[in-house]
Symmetry: C2
Subunit: 444 residues, 2 copies
């Protein structure tokens, strides 16, 4: 492509929702500075979406329209296909495969598709000699994939973790500020457009798990493994848990946490978990409020790096999409110049097995709702003792609306397997009015 | 250089202080992963420093030794010269010029040299077709130059600001935690190695000004202009100021702040200031403690991005130096592939004039030490009134050790010129026992 230097990089956009419209607005608004920074202009050539007539607040008349989005990648006047349709399979995946097969560079904001099919797509892109990029798939406008792939490239990354879902963080930090309960804050967030009508993917930690699996692959040079992420969402977190955590010096955040560990048999073990965690107030993530995202990477030379910003929204997401396009405009001169999508060629990424959690050592917060009658506390304490769980602090709070009593405890540092064993001992006990809630405490 | 793909990238290191030794340790420790991420190994070929015999904790015998560091760049077996000598002029600058003239890629951690000579060096590097990189010159291990140049490349940056000097942040946050005074904490920091024996560059804001001028050039696409940074350090900040700020909902941080503004005559105006600021406690920078650095960039699409991490130290600085080398290893295939050091070719950077400060609008904290006698408060209040300064809150505190009384006030939002005028009215008054201290309040 050397002959195209100084020629425009020609783009086709599939999907014209808020992000697609944002990308168009960005490229139009910042055209002059983008051209200065790229050394050549970006030019949108063609677009495609489901409904041609819909008013999106941007003028589409300068661009060719394709009813069939796969026709975008067949066009000779297109260098880069930008996929903003969403969904792990279906039209987005069809377009991705077609674009790469047609020799186009491929840029996407689609975390679900990358989590499920990213390795396969990257493998094909590498053999086709075309760039594939997905900065916007993780943490919205924050350039964290670039930060890991390039900025921290010299480091062995010990842990990568963070706040990866803006909806959950908005809900948890609003519960914290107002003392209101989950369902109430969720309804409000839905009314304000901060949460989807069907919030399952966000609330149950699946969206964060998509992003975590992508981050882990890039941070550790391991094969992406979404299926083994242990994801638990925030539905069961009560205002009372937040108040309890507060009094102990913690806030509650939904954290995606990944690390990789060696083992005796030489296989790397990949630990990936999305859970609500208790975060010590002196940790930088404790101060991340609202819909903000933040990612921490701990490198063996860099120490702790923190990347923070808006995790969603049309502007921030468009910023990340166009950053990828600018990278392509700057570097896609020859096939030699294409960095692998996951930093290392897919064939060289390490295979892993999922890590066991039982022997992990840490502190945990356990919360029980129990019947208000004599002997229940003794029953809990005995189960902890018999499981081998040592209790650092315990608080029992007066009756809830249903007559149940809340008992919250923080354990001393110990093996997670002990907590599991203690809870197994309590399973089926009619002293518990609902299943216990376990939250891990984030280590500094 | 296409024929060298998969061949090692060959390095020469000048300067073997703690950072130089850190770079060697990093390249040795992480050799395997760096090779995976680069697609080829990094190989240190030759080194140079003042004292060959000194024990640096790393084995230098595998590397050729040059007594004369400029001989490094003359070697045929060297691709990249890494300068870790320091100093804005002298041997570092001589080596930089020679390395570029000899067609070597050039990597440096030298903020003073880049602040003073970066544009000239970049211009020569661009015409020679060699890459020049200086990620480690700003904010230690944090990949913030990459973040601005590439991650946020799609955005017009409205402000770039942050905590750019770890020594000052360590001193201020220790004063905050302990209530001790500046001189006392500085001595301790010197004893612990967190501050230099001659701390002038750090304490007086010059080091932060070097970094700010580099960040501003990259963020705004403007010519680097170190000479117009208005730098005031932290020597005059008292424990009493910190306590006062605390009671008003602020912490005190040394902030480097830059923005660029248009004007009627078409010339861009560059505002660059390093001052102690009052930072609202709900701003992310208020939670940056110890020797940590943090940079905020506000993009017109990305919104607020925050990059945080260790601002100094051998490991973090080495991490940034080697990230630059990895970038070169990945991309330096042909002359077409070299991104300009300042993101935009030097000849295309905008010229600017320094911005005026008088018409800037904001809130300020003013602190006076005054004689303890009747009428002094009235004199202060009259000067404020006559300058046009409106006072939001005022606190007078009992006698200090020298019999002086402290009067601290926070103004309503107003023009900075009014504060200057009010203080001019007080100049020479024998009611003041020392010159007043003015600190601006960081806007959200």
């Amino acid at each position: 492509m050397s002959e195209t230097t100084k020629q425009p990089l020609r783009l086709a956009l599939a999907g014209l929702g808020t992000v697609g419209a944002g990308v168009i607005r960005l490229i139009e608004t910042n055209a002059a500075l983008i051209e200065r920074r790229c050394g050549r202009p970006l030019r949108i050539v063609a677009v495609s979406a489901r409904d041609r007539g819909k008013d999106r607040g941007v003028d589409l008349t300068p661009y060719a329209w394709e009813d069939d989005m796969t026709a975008l990648s067949a066009r000779d006047d297109v260098d880069v296909v930008v996929e903003l349709v969403g969904g792990s399979d279906g039209p987005a995946l069809t377009l991705a495969r077609k674009a790469i097969a047609d020799g186009k560079a491929f840029v996407t904001a689609n975390k679900a598709m990358i989590a499920h099919h990213g390795l396969g797509l990257a493998r094909v892109a590498e053999s086709a000699g075309v760039p594939m990029r997905f900065e916007a798939a993780v943490a919205g406008g924050i350039p964290v994939i670039k930060g890991l792939r390039e900025g921290a490239a010299a480091n062995e990354i010990e842990r990568v973790y963070g706040i990866l879902n803006g909806t959950c963080n908005y809900i948890l930090s609003t519960m914290e500020d107002t003392g209101r309960d989950f369902a109430d804050v969720l309804s409000e967030a839905q009314a304000m457009g901060f949460a989807e009508a069907d919030p399952t993917f966000d609330i149950d930690g699946i969206d964060a798990a998509h992003k975590l699996s992508i981050l882990a692959s890039i941070a550790f040079g391991t094969q992406l493994d979404f299926s083994s992420v242990d994801a638990v969402g925030i539905r069961r977190v009560l205002a009372a848990d937040i108040a309890q955590a507060e009094s102990l010096g913690y806030v509650i955040r939904l954290i995606g946490m990944a690390r990789v560990e060696g083992s005796e048999d030489g296989k790397k073990r990949l630990f990936q978990r999305v859970h609500p965690y208790l975060v010590p107030k002196n940790h930088p993530l404790a101060h991340v409020d609202g819909a903000t995202n933040a990612v921490v990477a701990e490198g063996n030379f860099s120490g702790r790096l923190l990347f923070q910003g808006a995790g969603a929204g049309d502007g921030p997401t468009a910023s990340a999409v166009v950053a990828d396009i600018i990278d392509i405009a700057r570097h896609w001169e020859s096939e030699n110049e294409i960095d692998p999508a996951f930093s290392i060629p897919v064939g060289e990424l390490d295979a892993t097995v999922p890590a066991q959690t039982g022997d992990r050592v840490g502190k945990a917060y356990l919360r029980f709702m129990v019947a208000d009658r004599p002997g229940v506390l003794a029953e809990l304490a005995a189960a902890m003792r018999d499981g081998g769980v040592s209790i650092e602090s315990l608080i029992q709070k007066g009756e809830g609306s249903d007559g149940a009593v809340m008992v919250a405890m923080v354990t001393h540092e110990g093996e997670e397997g002990c907590v599991v064993k203690a809870l197994d001992l309590l399973a089926g006990s009619d002293s518990l009015t609902e299943p216990p809630l376990v939250m891990h405490i984030l280590k500094q």
